[in-house]
Amino acid sequence: MNKVPFLFVLGVVGALILGGFTGYVYYSQGVAEQDLKKYDLQVANLENEVVQFEGENLGAAVSAKQALNVLKSDSIIWSEVIENILNATPKHTKTRIPLVEYVSYSGSQNNSVNINARTIPGSNTPFGDVAGLIRSFEKSSYFADPFVPSISTGVSDEGNLVLVFSFNVLINNE
């Protein structure tokens, strides 16, 4: 029986392995090229989408939204404060004229309001009017801790008694 030489078998096996491996590499390369084309297209589309989002200033809008939530959280609506001060001011039962007159007021971010006021010249009960003011602010749910540190007397141009006083009150945040 004739035997095929070992070297020939080795050569044929080597050639077959090389051929098989070459085929595998060619096939894999083809698949990878297709994948690369697919991802290139996908990346280009996604980049366009990102540019579109950025072009719409979405990042800046998100920052603005986050900041607004924080900045507005401790804002005081001063138009409301003044409206509530005027509403809380006691008025004459018949004429509806306020029993005290505000000369100046100031408010700051710490929720406190300082008011300088005076009673109406000619009032029969000026001290009672000041007490009424304190009572009225105590009743208001919008304000807290009304306090009049001092009251001084004066005379109006017409010669009537006028009380001049300062008045501190806190804006109720609860």
Binding site: F8, Q29, A32, L36, V43, A61, I76, I82, S106
Partner: protein, 191 residues
């Protein structure tokens, strides 16, 4: 008899040729691997690395788009109007001219006179947000004060009033109350 003697060298010659062919095939295979398949494999490896890199890039971009979309959904800023409104509230850049225009516009709309105004810019009020401090004084009728303040509060650019000082005076002849008031405000911008 001579026929039998001749067959032995023929078989040996064929084996020698096959062995030689085997050696040539082996040499060819090694040379083919070294000079053809190996560079081909190297090309494939580079291509595969490119694919991986693009795949990762696509993943990152998708995450970015998802975060944009979720921001739109969660923060209620899906429409163009909502985005523009937010950017008007806190614009990109100080835009001091816009603040002056706003103050003048609100004053005029409520018959209030803008008497003086001062500015100061500071960065880092809140994260990337800077602030333009505005100190302004005004004069007008007492009855217009609340409407004016509402105008400030409802302005498209956010004005946060940090302090207010009001002086009330009465014009006895006309029975009109006048107010002189000053406001300290913060307008905000994105750096």
């Amino acid at each position: 008899m001579p026929e039998i003697d001749d067959s032995v060298p023929v078989v040996g010659k064929g084996r020698k040729i096959l062995s030689l062919l085997g050696i040539l095939l082996l040499i060819g295979a090694v040379a083919g691997y070294a000079f053809f398949v190996r560079p081909l494999w190297s090309e494939y490896s580079t291509l595969k690395a490119d694919v991986t890199s693009q795949e990762e890039k696509a993943g990152t971009l998708k995450e970015q788009i998802d975060s944009f979309q979720s921001a739109e959904d969660n923060m209620d800023i899906g429409t163009e109007v909502q985005k523009v409104t937010l950017l008007n509230s806190i614009p990109v850049g100080v835009n001091q001219d816009g603040v002056i225009d706003d103050l003048v516009g609100i004053s005029k709309a409520h018959d209030i006179e803008l008497r003086s105004v001062g500015f100061n810019v500071s960065e880092g009020y809140y994260e990337e947000i800077g602030s333009l401090s505005v100190n302004a004084s005004f004069e007008g009728n007492y009855s217009d004060l609340i409407n004016f303040l509402e105008g400030i509060e409802e302005n498209s650019r956010l004005f946060k009033v940090t302090s207010i000082n009001v002086q009330v005076s009465r014009l006895e002849d006309l029975d009109i109350k006048r107010v002189t008031f000053s406001l300290s405000m913060e307008a905000f911008y994105q750096g």
